[in-house]
Symmetry: none
DNA sequence: TCTTTTATGTCATTGAATTGTCACATAAAA
DNA sequence: TTTTATGTGACAATTCAATGACATAAAAGA
C-alpha cells in the first residue's frame, strides 16, 4: 500500500531532492513542473498527498490548490519562498493543510507529510519496509518501489530480491539461494539463479549494479556506488 | 556493509593518519583536500559519515557543512585547531554532530565516529571482519578492503587470502595450502600455489610483503613492519 | 473449458576472467 | 661456484557468468 505523493515544483534540483527523500520512505512518486501538468497528474493518479510550490509556470499554486479543493480534501502542503504571514493566511483560506518556507530541511518536510498522513489515517503502523538506496521493499504489502516508481516483479523475483535486501552486503552462494528461495527440496540447475538475477537486473535498470556478482560463488546486494 | 567515510583535511600527513586508523576498522574511505572537491565527492559517493576540517582551501568547512545540510542529515564531525567555545556553538547551529580539537588522539576520533554511527543505526554488531594492518577481509560479504579501497580478487585469490588472514602468523606448507584451498583431491603442481601467491602480492601492491615466503616450506601472512 | 498471457526453468552460445603449466630469471643456500 | 628454491611473464586450457531462445507450466481471462 505505497502512498502516492504528487510533487509540484518547477525547480528541477529541488524537485529531485524532495523525490529522493520520499523515495527512501517508500512513497510512490509523481512529479510535475508546472500547474497545468499538475492538475492532469492529480486527476489521473489520485495522490494521497500533494506538495505544491506557489510560484509555478502556466498556472500558479493558488489556482491549482483551488481546483484541487473543488473535488477533494486531499492533504496539501505548500512551498513558498516568502515567509510573509499574509501568504500563509491566504493559503489556509484556500484549504492548504500546512506550509513550509524555502529554504527548508527535507527532513522537516518528510515529517510534516507524515504527520498529515497520520492525521488523515493513511499511514498504517505495521509497515515493514527496508530501503537500500532508492530501492524500497515493503514486506507487508509485498511491494517494491524504485525511485518512487512501482516495480512489477514476478514471485520468484520478489522472493530473491527480498532475501537479498534483508541481508544487504551478505554474499550468498548459488546453492544457498536455491535453498532459501526455491526451497530445500528443489533439485535443478544452479544456473536458474542466474536467469532470475538477470531478469531482476533488467527491471532494476540503472540500479542493476546493486546486485553484484561474486565470481565463483554467487551474488550479493550492496549500495550503488 | 563497508561504511563509507569522507575525510576532508588539507594537511596530507594528518589525512593519512586518519585514513590509516579508519582503514583498519574496515571503512570504505574517500578523501578530499579542499572544500570544493569535498562537495563533489560527497555528492557522488554518499558517505555514511563525514570528518570535516574547518580551515580548508577554496571553500571552508562551515560552507561545506551548510551545503551538506541542505540535502542530508549525514553525521558530521568537525576538526578545529582552535578550541574556542564560540566555534563549537556556531558549528552546532549549522548542524555539526560532534567536534574534535587538534591535536587529537586518533583513537578518540574513531570512538566518536563509532558512537555517531551507532546512534544513526549504521553499525551492525555481528560483522564478520578480520583486519591485519590496513587489510580487511569481510567474510560475510566476501569483500576485501585495502587501505579503504575495495580489492578485486579472483575466487582462488580470495580463498587463499582468506585462509591466511584467518590464520595470521601461521605458516602453511604448499601441500597444506593445496589441500585447504584447492581441495583434498587436487592433484597438481605445488608450484601452482606460487603463482596464486604472486597474483595476490601484485594486488596487494606495497603491502605485498605481508605475505612472507617460508623458504623450503610455504607461506605465511604477518603484519607489515 | 479453452485461450491467452505470464512466469519459470533449461539449454546452448558467447565472451571474458581465471587458472595451471612451463620456461626462464633471480635469489638463497650449500 | 654450484645447487636448489622461488619469482615472474607468457600462453593455452579451462571455467564461469551473461544472455537469448525456447519449452513448459501456471495463472488469468474469456
Amino acid at each position: 500500500m505505497a502512498i502516492k505523493i504528487l510533487i509540484v515544483e518547477d525547480e528541477s534540483r529541488l524537485r529531485k531532492l524532495i523525490r529522493d527523500y520520499f523515495s527512501k520512505e517508500g512513497f510512490d512518486i509523481f512529479e510535475s513542473e508546472d500547474g497545468k501538468d499538475a492538475l492532469v497528474k492529480y486527476d489521473t493518479n489520485h495522490p494521497d498527498i500533494v506538495i505544491l510550490d506557489i510560484m509555478l509556470p502556466e498556472i500558479d499554486g493558488w489556482t491549482v490548490m483551488k481546483r484541487i479543493r473543488q473535488g477533494s480534501n486531499v492533504p496539501v502542503i505548500m512551498l513558498t519562498a516568502r515567509s510573509e504571514e499574509e501568504d500563509k493566511l491566504f493559503g489556509y483560506e484556500l484549504g492548504a493543510d500546512d506550509y513550509i518556507t524555502k529554504p527548508f530541511s527535507p527532513k522537516v518536510l518528510v515529517a510534516k507529510v507524515k504527520a498529515l498522513l497520520k492525521r488523515s489515517g493513511k499511514i498504517k503502523v505495521d509497515e515493514n519496509k527496508i530501503a537500500v538506496n532508492e530501492l524500497v521493499i515493503d514486506l507487508s504489502s509485498h511491494k517494491v518501489i524504485l525511485n518512487g516508481k512501482h516495480l512489477e516483479l514476478s514471485p520468484k523475483e520478489y522472493d530473491l530480491l527480498s532475501l537479498l535486501m534483508q541481508n544487504k552486503d551478505i554474499a550468498f552462494s548459488r546453492d544457498e539461494l536455491l535453498n532459501k528461495v526455491w526451497g530445500y527440496d528443489y533439485f535443478g540447475d544452479a544456473r536458474t539463479v542466474d536467469t532470475t538475477i538477470k531478469r531482476l537486473r533488467n527491471k532494476l535498470e540503472n540500479y542493476s549494479e546493486m546486485i553484484q556478482t561474486v565470481r565463483g560463488y554467487g551474488y550479493r546486494l550492496s549500495d550503488k556506488k
